[in-house]
């Protein structure tokens, strides 16, 4: 199972839950993007692709895609995507693509709190966000403010 954000040919986030070589990953991403971008609105959100099922949903210009196996439940996967978007939305406050670009590591952390090894770890919005908040608090304790010069590597 993999999850990625696709926007007009640009991948914003990907997560693989099966060992796959880099080359194969790139190929799959390219292929999947073509398939999904060719879909028209109102078409159904599921499609057979290779020996997998792809569940996708579009939010503004981002496509969220999950590849699942034959036995897996399509509708619940669709809601899995929605819950992840809700988590992002809650965390960033009205999330847009720029948030995901500039804070890609946060988007990963949230995904990791939500899913693990391709299975849902906790479906409660509160639990997931609490975990992320705690991590943010740790981050603030960790870091003392740094000067701009230091930041640019000049000090």
């Amino acid at each position: 199972m993999s999850l990625g954000n696709i926007r007009q040919g640009k991948l914003r986030l990907q997560k693989w839950y099966l060992a796959t070589s880099d080359k194969e990953r790139k190929k799959m991403v390219r292929e999947l993007m073509q398939v999904v971008l060719a879909r028209k609105p109102k078409m159904c959100s599921f499609l057979e692709w290779r020996d997998l099922k792809v569940v996708y949903k579009r939010y503004a210009s981002l496509y969220f895609c999950c590849a699942i196996e034959g036995q897996d439940n399509e509708l619940i996967t669709l809601e899995l995507i929605h819950r992840y978007v809700e988590l992002l939305d809650k965390y960033f406050g009205s999330v847009c693509e720029l948030d995901i670009i500039f804070n890609f590591e946060k988007a990963y952390f949230i995904l990791d709190e939500f899913l693990m090894g391709g299975d849902v770890q906790d479906t409660s919005k509160k639990s997931v966000l609490k975990a992320i908040e705690q991590a943010d608090l740790l981050q603030e304790e960790d870091e003392s403010p740094r000067s701009v010069l230091e930041e640019m590597g000049l000090a």
């Binding site: 939305d89 965390y91 999330v95």
Partner: protein
């Protein structure tokens, strides 16, 4: 939720990301990245030891670069160092880098494992969580070796925190999936089962995933989970929607957990009566809830509710023991078949497919046949149509076979190329399986060849020959039918193969009729000979020698054919050998010997239908099982089990027959033509639509991509699209000077960038079928300033209005800086036309009005429908169009390198079919097609003769309409 201090820690990273986003070109981006990589490399190599913060920042930059699609070949060591940092954020970035970039076989695994070991032992739940995540992400064998023994202990230890338990369960699941042999079963398993009773629903959810996978391989070990799962499920489905607090999702109590529990129960047969009663109650409750009015209008509510419902139906089908539940499930799915949500229709069709194979619900499924047939005809999404075809196949039995087969044949005429072959296989199987009289079967297969000859694989036409050979009641009918089918001026090569074989065996059965006397049969077959591939010609030669035996009166004619130089000295060794051997055989052998050698083929031995085998290969095991087991139609195997194994039919063909190359299943020759031809057509029609990106794609376009932009700029992912503004009609100026040149670029292709200047880029994507077309125009604002009063309109100069109808959809009046808007045009060609419509684009940019007129890339050739025809038909039509005004010719110099493949692609892009083996000179190209307009159709033939030496072309067009010939000739001549 407090405001997030975004990127506060790593300003350098944010600066770098901005830099990358500001790069104007791919080259600039690569340059910037290389600069950064060099910088990071020198920092990592430098003498000065880096502090943890810098290391984190650089590792994060590397990760970003990797995610952009570039290869990263260093930095792994620094990331591993971060793992042992005491600072949470450094550790976290280190783990993220490892889990994204490290694949199973990295040499670093041992170092990583060490760090993980320390974190697991730290008793710090946050660190333990990171470590478990990393194991689950990499999941390599070495990691399994190191930790598979440890993690179960963490999982069941009394003092482990809930969040760590959840991670441990899923981590163990991942290791079990990759290396099941390394996860030892033991005491811990019974304690894991009891996690189903845990207070914390998050723990139960994670544990259920783990138990389900373990139970599939070790059902005995986990069978106590059944009653626990049922009681948990029962508590969930009967709970009020608020009981489960945050685990209630849009008024549905714990949908994820419910689905998982239902999945777990599918690992087991129906439980003992006590538990069974409770489970049945649960399932009934779920079915009842589906009938209740929704608690919310949100799609999330119905999706979550139906996710549980579909999983419950899967369990009901899996148990296949409660007729009442099965029929209720079927009725529920029947309601979904007509639901307005495409997703539900799709899933209902899919789920019904499995219901159709249950003896309890097969009849109930059949009552929906009309709805399903309707879906096959009207669904706009090919994947849904495909499910409908699958379901028709699954619900087919003797009672409805004729109806279903005829509907599928009808569907085949318009079916998407991608699924034609599969439909052909299914029709062939159903026709054979449910044939009451074999004349229907023969008709059906010949129809298949007629409608979709290219997609009829060898297995299908071999099979019809096997069946006709083995059933003498159908042989005469088959001979008569193929003879009639071969009369068609253009018939598919597969038809020639079947016809050739059948007439060679059974032509004598119709020879009494003067209309199909032996010489007529022969000359009919031979008229196709020259158009066919080598394999087919070889088959026809065998038919001819069989004719010599069947009809001695044809001997002289056939010997003359065999003796002809084109056969005896044929460049193809197989053809030459057959000609030589058959000629000699016919001359030296006595009539008796000839009769023995060329005897009718013996019946074929019984074997699995080769078509069924092929369908299974295509769809994976389990496909067609509904038909295999035949449990609901036990009689069918007796009558229609393909070819019955009677003692007399189990003989193998005699050696002499082998010698003559008439074996039942010729060794697989060239790959079936369908593959190549199919792809070609798919490319022509579907390929362009799959191109991902058109027009400018600055990141900001996200904010206003296809939906019209909202006035306030950053559009949230969850926001609803805003309504569009209304453009006003205006006068337009003349087309820009380069409009013709731009138009020419699109004569042979449908997609690309139509226009670009400093301000604006216009991309085009279009597709045409018959006399209809749809075009997507993408207007990209290349500036950072909003365009005002943006209004693109389509104008019909002259009397184009009566020739071409173009419907446009409105676009928003404002286009934000960097944004792209899309406009959809529906086009109908009413009659032939010469000038393209004009596209006028007006807008205000920074207060200055801008206007621009282009020619819309709609030319008459877009409405071409390619036509395949044989050489003689081509020449016959060519002669019919011999009036001087019907022909247009141009001799011109090549503007591009003369490459046959490129030329081919252009001609196909132009829209006509390319006909091989028609022009005696193989260098030349010959094409045919019909221009489809609402009022009339214009047949077009074309011939392009390249002269490589002179770097010149001669192009000749003949059509039934004079202006069309000239116009097409001019359009096409520009392309080479």
């Amino acid at each position: 939720m407090p405001a997030v201090s975004k990127g506060d820690g790593m300003r350098g990273l944010a600066v770098f990301i901005s830099d990358i986003r500001n790069c104007k070109s791919k080259e600039a981006e690569i340059k910037r990245i290389n600069k950064e990589l060099a910088n990071i490399r020198s920092k990592f190599k430098g003498d000065k030891a880096l502090d943890g913060y810098s290391k984190k920042k650089y590792v994060c930059k590397l990760l970003f670069i990797f995610l952009l699609g570039h290869d990263i070949d260093f930095g792994h060591m620094e990331a591993v160092n971060l793992l042992s940092s005491n600072k949470y954020t450094e550790k976290q970035i280190g783990y993220l880098f490892i889990s994204v970039l490290v694949n199973s076989n990295s040499e670093l695994i041992r170092l990583i494992n060490n760090a993980i070991k320390n974190d697991l032992a730290s008793r710090n739940p946050t660190f333990m969580g990171l470590a478990l995540h990393c194991i689950a992400s990499v999941g390599s064998r070495e990691m399994a070796e190191a930790f598979a023994g440890e993690i179960p202990k963490v999982l069941v230890a009394g003092d482990t925190m809930d969040s760590v338990k959840q991670s441990a369960a899923l981590c163990l699941l991942r290791l079990y999936r990759t290396s099941p042999d390394l996860v030892p079963m033991g005491d811990w398993t019974s304690r894991v089962v009891h996690l189903l009773n845990d207070q914390h629903l998050g723990v139960v959810t994670a544990a259920t995933s783990l138990i389900t996978t373990l139970a599939q391989k070790n059902p005995e070990e986990f069978k106590t989970s059944v009653s626990l799962a049922v009681s948990r499920l029962s508590r969930i489905v009967t709970s009020a929607s608020t009981d489960l607090q945050d685990y209630t999702y849009y008024f549905v109590p714990a949908p994820w957990l419910s689905v998982k529990l239902l999945r777990l129960l599918q690992c087991y047969p129906p439980p003992d009566p006590a538990v069974r009663g409770r489970l049945t109650e649960c399932l009934e409750t779920i079915l009842n809830k589906a009938q209740e009015p929704p608690k919310s209008k949100k799609v999330q509510h119905s999706n979550a509710k139906n996710a549980v419902l579909f999983e419950a139906i899967s369990l009901i089908i899996h148990h296949d023991s409660e007729p009442n539940l099965l029929v209720r499930a079927c009725n529920q799915l029947g309601q979904f078949l007509q639901h307005r949500e495409t997703n539900l229709r799709y899933l209902a069709l899919e789920s019904m497919c499995t219901l159709a194979s249950s003896e309890f619900s097969h009849e109930a499924v059949k009552t929906h046949i009309d709805t399903v047939i309707n879906a096959l005809k009207t669904e706009r999404d090919v994947s849904v149509r495909q499910r409908a075809a699958d379901l028709l196949y699954a619900m087919c039995d003797r009672s409805n076979a004729k109806q279903i087969v005829s509907e599928m044949l009808r569907y085949l005429e318009t079916a998407d190329y991608a699924i034609r072959e599969e439909i052909v296989l299914k029709v062939a199987i159903l026709a054979e399986k449910y044939a009451v009289d074999y004349s229907w079967y023969v008709d059906t297969i010949l129809n298949l060849i007629r409608i979709a000859g290219d997609y009829v694989s060898e297995e299908v036409w071999y099979r019809v020959l096997q069946i006709v050979t083995n059933r003498d009641d159908v042989q005469g009918y088959a001979a008569k039918t193929v003879f009639e089918a071969l009369q068609a001026p253009a018939c598919h090569e597969n038809m020639v193969k079947v016809g050739g074989y059948i007439l060679g065996e059974f032509g004598n059965l119709i020879a009494g009729d003067p209309r199909s006397s032996p010489p007529v049969q022969f000359s009919l077959l031979h008229s196709k000979f020259h158009l066919c591939s080598v394999a087919t010609r070889a088959l026809l030669l065998s038919t001819y020698i069989k004719f010599i035996n069947l009809f001695p009166e044809t001997k002289a004619t056939i010997q003359a054919v065999l003796r002809a130089g084109s056969q005896l000295r044929n460049a193809d060794v197989e053809l030459q050998q057959r000609a030589v051997e058959y000629l000699t055989l016919s001359s030296v052998a006595s009539t008796d010997v000839l009769a023995t050698v060329l005897e009718e083929m013996p019946p074929f031995p019984e074997r699995e239908s080769s078509i069924l085998a092929k369908l299974k290969r295509k769809k994976g095991p389990g496909a067609g099982s509904a038909l295999d087991d035949g449990r609901r139609d036990p009689s069918s195997n007796d009558i229609n089990g393909g070819v019955e194994p009677t003692p007399s039919t189990v003989s193998t063909p005699s050696p002499s027959a082998d010698l003559l190359g008439l074996r039942a299943a010729p060794p697989p020759a060239a790959p079936p033509a369908s593959a190549g031809a199919g792809n070609l057509l798919v490319d022509v029609f579907d390929g362009p639509a799959a191109q991902p990106s058109l027009g400018p794609t600055p990141e900001e376009a996200f904010l206003s991509e296809l939906e019209p932009p909202a006035p306030e700029s950053p559009m949230a992912l969850l926001a609803d699209p805003a309504p569009a503004a209304d453009p006003g009609p205006e006068d337009i100026g003349p087309p820009i000077p380069e409009a013709d040149e731009l138009l020419n670029k699109f004569v042979c292709k449908n997609n690309g960038v139509l226009f670009e200047n400093q301000l604006l880029q216009i991309g085009v994507k279009s597709e045409f079928r018959q006399n209809l077309g749809r075009m997507y125009l993408f207007y990209g604002n290349k500036t950072s300033v909003q365009f005002q009063n943006f209004s693109p309109t389509v104008v019909h100069p002259g009397d184009l209005q009566t020739q071409l109808a173009v419907q446009t959809k409105r676009v928003a009046a404002q286009v934000d800086g960097g944004a792209q808007v899309q406009q959809v045009l529906n086009i109908e060609c009413l009659r032939d036309f010469l000038t393209p419509p004009l596209l006028s684009v007006r807008f205000r940019y920074g207060g200055t009005p801008q206007a621009l007129t282009l020619k819309l890339p709609v030319t008459i050739n877009k409405f071409f429908q390619p036509t395949e025809m044989a050489a003689q038909d081509f020449f016959q039509r060519w002669k019919q169009l011999s009036l001087p005004q019907q022909e247009a010719q141009k001799i011109f110099k090549a503007n591009h390198p003369m490459d046959a493949e490129v030329t081919k692609a252009k001609l196909l892009g132009f829209g006509s079919a390319l006909l091989d083996n028609v022009d005696p000179n193989p260098e030349n190209f010959v094409g045919a097609g019909i221009i489809q307009t609402k009022a009339l159709q214009v047949g077009c033939l074309l011939r392009l003769e390249p002269n490589a030496q002179a770097q010149m072309y001669r192009l000749t067009l003949r059509t039934s309409k004079e202006p069309v010939s000239r116009h097409l000739c001019e359009l096409l001549a520009q392309q080479f």
